[in-house]
Every structure is written in structure tokens, then in C-alpha cells.
């Protein structure tokens, strides 16, 4: 009897909830605002990285509203949780674009989530700002890539190791997915073009979240003990890094002997790691929190105030969102409307200051110009910039070091094409 009554109560409660939710949806659609979709996983495996970007977006939108909004209207963030589930990313994108009618989406982290979202954004003619470094080999009319392409991260890093540290042997270690695979393909071709022998390159792939690095680290140690300076170029993803660095430290491989340069380890990842064994290992990014510029310290102050936690850090994808959001704002102001086609036309050529003291520009291939910084990890979890490019490096959608893509070129305003083959003078595959 008791159970029955409990069950009944739950039933009543459930229907009440549904009603409440239904009314919520109705009320949300009434005010006149410009809606901005925030599509970052807040649960599941990717929440660890993406939650921060959601907060960043909320902060940027709040700041913009303090400045009076955009086109005289307030900006309204619409946050959804795609829960690290790739089909759910596509579903939520459709919801954002067709139900919530957002004018731009800032979101995604993994390549697969972007790939999942891409067809929907193209079909419904939305705008997606993608803030994470990625493997390149893509240029969509509706997507703006504000993270680094391989030529804005991987190749300068290898150049640094080769020229400044005299590295002769290379370990390319990565998690087995598209970004490391592609990056390593590019690097392999690049290294060979610089005269590195096949025998001096070791390539290793591990599954996601790999936690037992004992024999791989032992292999690296052996590979590195042949009398030539050896470095590890790591595209190891997220959670696998902590056990990897711990094993390196414990097996006695210091950054001096075999430096590791990582493309996926930033300040935020370091804040979850005991940094002692990592000191001296490197990372290549387009932004470091430690960069000493006025605009950066203002950004950090704002962030710490917004998040209410003195210990939080800023990182590269956050800067990418900062740049992307400001570019979008500027483009909307330039176009005088939030209409996707107008913004797509207006945004190319838009220049906004980045946090490292330069000015980033949206290029015709929907990538941006960024500086490349190499930093060494310090004990406090920050990076010490040891090298940076002289100027800004333009993002290259199609790598020159891959067979399939070296002839491809992307130019949306000029050629109306994201993958134009310069040999056959044709736009390959689907156009707009």
C-alpha cells in the first residue's frame, strides 16, 4: 500500500514537471534578443574540458551586454548539454538552430563532435565557431575555425625542436584518433622532407584514456638512448596524459634528456596534474596564460572575477572563443544584421586583437591568423615562453604535406569554395 502511494506521488510529480517545462519553453521565446547557442558538453567524458568554455562564453556574453549588447539588443545565451554524445551534438544543434533560432553557435571540442554537427549547420545555414586546435583538412562555409590548424601548432613546434634543441630522433606518440593520426602524418612527411631517416622516427598510438604506459615509456627510453638527441611529439589526449607524464618521471626521463612537446596539454590540464615531474616539458599553443600583455591580464582578471575562484586558469581554447566571439560581434555590427549569409560575407577580413598582443584576422578560408608560442612547463603549472614566431601565422585548412590535400585551397569570398583544386581548377565535391 505504502509503495503504491509513493508511486502515485511520483506520477503526479512527473506530470507537474512536464507542465512546468512546457511553460518554460513557451516563455523563453518571447523576448526580443539575439540568441547565442553554447554547445559544450557539461557531462560525460568531455565535460572536463568543455565546461570551462561554456563559462567563458557566458562571461563574454555578459561583458557584451554590459557594453550595451549588440545592434541595440541584449544577447541571450542558450546553453544545452550534448553530454559528450556525438549524435546528441547533431540533435542539439538542430534544436538550437530550428527551435531556439540562435544566430550563432559557439561550441564543440572533439573533431567527431564537429563532424557530427557540420551537416546540420550547413543544412540549416547556421554559424559555428569552433575553438579547438584540430587536424585541419576541412573548410566549411558555415564554420569558423578559431583554434590552430596543424601549421599553426605542430610544424612550428617541430621546427623549434629541430633548430634550437638539435633533436635528431623523433617519437610521435598519440591517442588513436583523427587529430593525432593526421598531425603525425603531416609531421612525418615534414620530417622526411627535412632529411630525417625512417629509422629515426618512432610512431606509437594508444587508446583513449590509456593508463598503463610502462612499456611504451620503456620503449621511448630505449629509443632515446642511442646517442642522438630525442624528443617526443605528443598528441596524447586528455586523461591519458597524467599517467604518461608520471611514468616518464618515475622511469627517470627528464625533460632535459627527452623533452616532450605536447599539443593537447594546456594550463587547465596542468591544473589537474602534480606538475613536479613535468617541469621543462613543452607545449605549443597560440596563447599562454603567462603571456604578459595588458589585454591578457584584463582578461584573466575578468575571468577570475566571473568564475569566483582565484585558482582557475585560462587557456588557449578560451582565447579562441574570445577571438571568435569578438569577430562575430564585429561582423554583425559591420553587416548590421545577424543574418547568417550577411555575417559570413562580412566576417572575412575582420580583425580583432588577440590576447598575446597581436591582431588576429579572419581569413578567406575561415581560419584565423595566430602567433605560435612554445612554452616550457614550470612548477606552478604555467608555461614559460621559450620561443615564438615573429609574426602571426595564417591558418592553413589543407595541409601541404598530405598527398590528398596539397593541391586544395579554400577561399570562400573569392572562389565560393572550401576545397578548390588548384591543379584541375575545379571546386571538388559539394559547394555551397
Amino acid at each position: 500500500m505504502k509503495l503504491k502511494s509513493i508511486a502515485k506521488k511520483i506520477g503526479v510529480l512527473g506530470s507537474a514537471c512536464t507542465l512546468a517545462l512546457a511553460s518554460l519553453t513557451a516563455s523563453a521565446q518571447e523576448e526580443d534578443t539575439i540568441k547565442v547557442g553554447v554547445l559544450h558538453s557539461l557531462s560525460g567524458t568531455m565535460a572536463i574540458s568543455e565546461t570551462t568554455l561554456k563559462d567563458t562564453m557566458l562571461m563574454l556574453i555578459e561583458e557584451q551586454n554590459k557594453k550595451g549588447g549588440l545592434l541595440g539588443k541584449k544577447l541571450e545565451p542558450v546553453v544545452v548539454d550534448p553530454a559528450s554524445n556525438w549524435p546528441l551534438f547533431a540533435e542539439k544543434t538542430r534544436e538550437l538552430l530550428s527551435q531556439e533560432k540562435v544566430d550563432a553557435i559557439f561550441g564543440c571540442w572533439t573533431s567527431v563532435s564537429r563532424k557530427s554537427v557540420l551537416p546540420v549547420v550547413e543544412e540549416l545555414n547556421g554559424l559555428l565557431f569552433y575553438p579547438v586546435q584540430y587536424e585541419g583538412e576541412e573548410s566549411s562555409r558555415n564554420v569558423f575555425y578559431t583554434g590552430a590548424a596543424p601549421n599553426q601548432q605542430a610544424i612550428p613546434a617541430v621546427d623549434y625542436l629541430m633548430n634550437e634543441m638539435d633533436v635528431k630522433r623523433w617519437v610521435l606518440a598519440g591517442t588513436d584518433y583523427v587529430y593525432p593520426r593526421t598531425t603525425n602524418k603531416i609531421l612525418e612527411a615534414y620530417l622526411k622532407s627535412k632529411g630525417v631517416a625512417e629509422a629515426d622516427i618512432m610512431i606509437n598510438y594508444t587508446p583513449f584514456g590509456h593508463s598503463d604506459w610502462q612499456n611504451i615509456v620503456a620503449d621511448i627510453k630505449r629509443f632515446g638512448s642511442q646517442g642522438k638527441k630525442t624528443a617526443v611529439v605528443s598528441t596524447i589526449n586528455g586523461d591519458a596524459n597524467v599517467p604518461f607524464y608520471r611514468e616518464l618521471g618515475n622511469q627517470g626521463l627528464s625533460a632535459e634528456d627527452i623533452p616532450v612537446v605536447a599539443f593537447s596539454v594546456g594550463e587547465e590540464e596542468l591544473s589537474g596534474i602534480d606538475t613536479k615531474p613535468l617541469v621543462g616539458h613543452m607545449a605549443a599553443w597560440n596563447y599562454f596564460m603567462s603571456v604578459d600583455t595588458d589585454v591578457n591580464s584584463a582578461f584573466i582578471d575578468k575571468w577570475l572575477e566571473f568564475i569566483g575562484d582565484e585558482k582557475r586558469v585560462t587557456n588557449d581554447p578560451m582565447e579562441a572563443h574570445y577571438i571568435g566571439f569578438n569577430m562575430w560581434v564585429k561582423a554583425v555590427e559591420k553587416a548590421g544584421t545577424t543574418d547568417a549569409d550577411a555575417v559570413i560575407d562580412a566576417i572575412v577580413g575582420v580583425k580583432v586583437p588577440n590576447l598575446t598582443g597581436g591582431t588576429s584576422e579572419m581569413l578567406p578560408n575561415h581560419h584565423i591568423t595566430k602567433p605560435v608560442l612554445i612554452g616550457e612547463i614550470q612548477e606552478d603549472g604555467q608555461f614559460l615562453t621559450v620561443w615564438e614566431t615573429d609574426g602571426l601565422v595564417p591558418g592553413d585548412a589543407w595541409s601541404d604535406y598530405l598527398e590528398g590535400s596539397k593541391d586544395l585551397k579554400s577561399d570562400w569570398p573569392g572562389l565560393k569554395c572550401g576545397n578548390y583544386n588548384t591543379k584541375t581548377k575545379k571546386c571538388v565535391g559539394a559547394t555551397e
Binding site: V242, N250, Q251
Partner: protein, 548 residues
């Protein structure tokens, strides 16, 4: 030069090093350093310059300081290397040394500074290039350090760097006074490596013979070179022989290494599975929240380290009982709140505990944020036990292996020797009969579940030393844990031990051939096939309890 391949790297430093080697000799002859001449003006300038300018400028400044042969050079360089050389943030940019016991010394005079408030100090940053340079310079200085270990590492460093004639001469002289056999051996190696390049074939031959059987990795490259290209036939043959003997020994150690890797992986399996062996194996509860209980243990470790930030060395000893209690209490709460209504319906415990695992995960995310938390490794858990240059065992893995075995035997003792253990076994074998003889079955259930959960918590403490502490920690281990328990035989603790170690070793032996991913897939396929052969695992439980 001895090792030609590192030549490029060292070119810049070479002249400097030899100068320093002489300086060291001089220093040796004047043992009471403190009484030598006062600092020159240039030295003071240089010390101040260390804090200024770019990193590449610092490289030059450091070289200049070393070249000065000033009595304080070594201290300054050491402090810079250790990150103790600091600079004030005000305009004076005073360079100071902050010692381990928070004493602040003037860098130029090494006199303690008291009374003046220097404000927050900024560490003078160094990068790899500088670090490597410092290492080499300090190695030169430390060749006559009173501590054996320091001397040994200095000589080892010389082997890595290669050396020139002066170093070889220096080593030869030092060798005669050297008391420690290991240091002497290393010196021999270093000298032999230098002599490998000698013009004289007999000297080369002697050097090759000296290097025979040496496991130091730097030896193999030059030996290979001799074996391939030496003008003298005897040297070639002898070098090849030396290489073969080294290779033979290496193979043996590599096998040993692999076994250890396997056991270590097995110990992780064991720790994560052993709690489940109780809750699932003994009680028949498919506890999907098992991983989250480990997560709770890992977070407890983090909390302990936050509460006692100065006791990192002992934090694990506090964390183990704390994690046991916290996870155990959560476990008891789960048992009392949910599972007690579901006995005899194992598959429904799966659903309920799956729900609980989602709640616990989200709770961790809400309380501790979705970011990973940094759990520090105590000093004694870091580094490795160097058995010889080719074979070392990392301390954290070693301790975790021992710890896993300890937990296992402790649990075994509890189940076999205590009255709780007796009751647990009684209830799990025949509940109505146990009740009939006066066992409070529900109480025993709660305690047993608490015990299993507490052990999961302890496993979490161990995992916090190996991997990330974050909301996803549990998910990574849950499937492996179930595999181990099923493989070993449900309800049999020994089976869990053998299963865990067996899977660990098989995995590590497959990995070199198949790669990490495929090895895991193969293990799973083998496991599936194995279950077909022996549906009740390696050590099936006999009698009634075996039925579902």
C-alpha cells in the same frame, strides 16, 4: 671528443667545461673554500644580470659566471638549477637565494638577509637549454663532491655528455683516489668511452674489452660504430662480441621488466577488482557503482592532501583509512537505501547501482568541478629503484604491487579468520540457514557491502597515484574489474588474484606485438572464449552458492 654524436650540442660548452675542470682541480687543492678571495666586481654584476634579459642571454651569463671560477659560482648555479635563485619584484631587482628552510640569503655574499621586507619573490626562470647547461657545469664541479651519489651522478653525466682529453685526464687522476667502487666503475666506463676514439688500436681494443657487458645505454652506439667501421679487424670482432654479450644481458632484463610490468598492471586489476570480488562475488550484487566508490577513495586522498598540505609525505597513510571509512559508509548507505530490497535479483541491482553511479559521478562533478584534481606523489613514491642501467623498477608501481597483495591477504584473513568473515560466508552460502542459527543477515549484508566498498575506496587511493582523479575515474576501471572477477571465478578470492595477475602479464606480453589497443581487444576475445570453455571461471565455487 669521445662521443661524436653529441658533439654539436656540446660545442658551445666545451671550452668552458675544460676551463672549469681546471678550476675544479684548483679548488681541490684548496679545500677551505670559504677563506678564498672576496668577490670581484664583475661577479656581482653577473649575478645581478642573471635575473635580467631573455633566456638566451641568461645562457651567456651563466657561462660567464662559471668561467669566473668564483668560489660562489657553484652555489649560484645550483640555486638556479633548483629554482631557489629568486629576484625581488621591486626596481632594485635584488638577487637572493631562498633555502629549503625558507631562509633568504644574499646571492652574492650568501649572508642571510633579515629585517628588510623584500616582498614577494620571483623565481628566476630557466628552460631546458639552461637546465642542461647547468647540469653539465655542475657535474664538472661535483666530480669531487664528498657524497658518493652526487659524484656518481656527476660521472654519469659526463658519460652522457661525452668528454674531451682534459676530462679524461682529470678522471684518471680522480680515479686513483676514488674509494667507491661504483663511482670508479663509472669512471672506467667514461675513460674507456674516450679511449674508443684513440689513434692506437691496442688502446681501442682495451677500451672495447673494458666496455664489454656494460649496460649503460651510451655505450652501445660507439661500440656499434667500432664494430662496423673500425680500421682494425681485432677491434671490430671484439666490439661485436662485446655488443652480443650486452644484447644477451639486455634481453634477459627486458624479460624481467616485462614480467614486472605485467604484475604491476595485474596489481591495478587486483586492487580494482578485489572490492568487487566481495560485493559481486560473495554477495551477488552487480555493483555498477563500484568504480564510483574507487573515485570516492581517490577524491578522499585529494581532500586529505588539501587539508594537510604540509604532510604530503604521510598523506597516503592518512588517506587509506579515511578512504576506507568514507567509501565504506557510502557503501553501507547504498546497501541500506537500495540494495537490501533487491537481494536475489542480481540483474536489478545492476540497474539500481547504475543509477547510483550516475548520481555519484554528477555529485563529484558538482562538488569538485568536472576538472581533474591534482593529487601529489609523495617523494618516496616517485622515482625508481635502479637495479642496473638497463633495469629499474618504479617505486610507485612497486609499492602498489605490494600494497595490492597486502590488501588481498588482509581481506582473505578477515574472511577466513574473523567471526564477521564466518558470518559473511555463512550468509552468502545459505541465507535462511544462517538466519536460523542466529546470524543477523541484514546486518552482515550491510557490513559486507561496506567492506567491499571500503576496499574499493582504498583502491582509489592507489589509483590516485597512477592516474587522473576526476569524475570519470570509475568508468575506466569498471569493465576490467568485472572481467577479472568473472575470469577468476565468482566467489573465489584466489581466483581474483590469479585472474588479475594472469590478465596483467598476458596483456603486457601481447602489447609489444599487437600494440596497446589490439592487445586489449585480444584479451577480451580470449576471455570470452575462455568463459565458453569454463563458464564459471578459473576456480569455480562448489556447492549451492554457485547457482545464480
Amino acid at each position: 671528443m669521445i662521443v661524436t654524436t653529441t658533439m654539436e650540442r656540446l660545442q658551445v660548452l666545451m671550452r668552458l667545461c675544460s676551463a672549469l675542470a681546471i678550476a675544479t682541480l684548483v679548488a681541490l687543492s684548496t679545500p677551505v673554500l670559504a677563506q678564498s678571495e672576496p668577490a670581484s666586481a664583475t661577479f656581482e654584476q653577473l649575478v645581478n644580470e642573471v635575473a635580467q634579459g631573455s633566456l638566451s642571454k641568461r645562457v651567456d651569463t651563466v657561462a660567464a659566471i662559471a668561467a669566473l671560477k668564483h668560489e660562489r659560482s657553484a652555489d649560484i648555479l645550483q640555486a638556479l638549477q633548483d629554482g631557489n635563485l629568486k629576484v625581488t619584484r621591486d626596481d632594485s631587482e635584488r638577487v637572493v637565494i631562498e633555502t629549503a628552510d625558507n631562509q633568504i640569503l644574499d646571492a652574492q655574499t650568501s649572508e642571510p638577509i633579515t629585517g628588510t621586507d623584500l616582498g614577494r619573490l620571483k623565481r628566476i626562470p630557466i628552460h631546458n637549454k639552461l637546465r642542461s647547461q647547468l647540469h653539465t657545469l655542475l657535474a664538472q664541479l661535483n666530480l669531487s663532491h664528498p657524497n658518493d651519489e652526487v659524484r656518481l651522478s656527476a660521472v654519469t653525466r659526463l658519460i652522457t655528455d661525452g668528454g674531451d682529453e682534459q676530462t679524461a685526464t682529470l678522471l684518471n687522476e680522480l680515479k686513483s683516489d676514488e674509494q667507491n667502487s661504483r663511482v670508479r666503475e663509472a669512471m672506467d666506463t667514461a675513460i674507456a668511452l674516450y679511449q674508443l676514439e684513440s689513434e692506437n688500436a691496442t688502446e681501442r681494443l682495451a677500451a672495447v674489452k673494458q666496455l664489454r657487458g656494460s649496460l649503460i645505454p651510451e655505450v652501445r652506439g660507439p661500440l656499434q660504430e667500432r664494430a662496423d667501421y673500425d680500421s682494425d679487424k681485432d677491434v671490430r670482432i671484439e666490439a661485436q662480441r662485446a655488443l652480443d654479450s650486452i644484447e644477451g644481458r639486455l634481453k634477459m632484463f627486458r624479460l624481467g621488466e616485462n614480467v614486472f610490468f605485467g604484475l604491476s598492471l595485474g596489481s591495478v586489476f587486483l586492487l580494482s577488482a578485489i572490492g568487487l570480488a566481495i560485493t559481486f562475488g560473495v554477495m551477488g550484487v552487480i555493483n555498477m557503482a563500484h568504480g564510483e566508490l574507487m573515485m570516492i577513495g581517490a577524491y578522499t586522498t585529494w581532500v586529505i592532501q588539501q587539508v594537510f598540505p604540509n604532510q604530503i609525505e604521510y598523506s597516503l597513510f592518512m588517506a587509506i583509512p579515511a578512504a576506507f571509512v568514507v567509501a565504506g559508509l557510502v557503501g553501507i548507505a547504498i546497501e541500506r537505501g537500495v540494495i537490501q530490497f533487491l537481494y536475489g535479483r542480481p540483474l536489478e541491482t545492476l540497474l539500481a547501482t547504475f543509477g547510483i553511479s550516475l548520481i555519484l559521478q554528477q555529485a563529484a562533478r558538482s562538488i569538485f568541478s568536472p576538472l581533474n584534481r591534482a593529487v601529489s606523489l609523495p617523494e618516496w613514491m616517485s622515482g625508481s629503484l635502479q637495479i642496473n642501467p638497463a633495469f629499474s623498477i618504479t617505486f610507485n608501481r612497486l609499492y602498489i604491487l605490494l600494497f595490492g597483495l597486502m590488501v588481498f591477504f588482509a581481506l582473505l584473513a578477515i574472511l577466513k579468520k574473523t567471526s564477521l568473515g564466518l558470518k559473511v560466508r555463512a550468509v552468502s552460502q545459505n541465507r535462511p540457514m544462517a538466519r536460523a542459527v542466529g546470524v543477523r543477515a541484514s546486518w552482515v549484508d550491510a557490513l559486507t557491502f561496506g567492506l567491499g566498498s571500503g576496499i574499493a575506496g582504498i583502491a582509489g587511493v592507489a589509483l590516485s597515484q597512477l592516474t587522473n582523479v576526476g569524475p570519470n575515474l570509475g568508468q575506466a576501471y569498471i569493465i576490467d574489474s568485472f572481467m577479472v572477477v568473472v575470469f577468476g571465478g565468482v566467489g573465489n578470492l584466489w581466483g581474483t588474484l590469479v585472474g588479475a595477475m594472469g590478465l596483467g602479464i598476458v596483456n603486457k606480453f601481447l602489447e609489444p606485438y599487437a600494440g596497446a589497443v589490439l592487445a586489449k581487444v585480444l584479451i577480451l576475445v580470449l576471455l570470452i572464449l575462455f568463459i565458453q570453455k569454463k563458464p564459471k571461471g578459473l576456480f569455480p565455487q562448489k556447492g549451492r552458492a554457485a547457482a545464480d
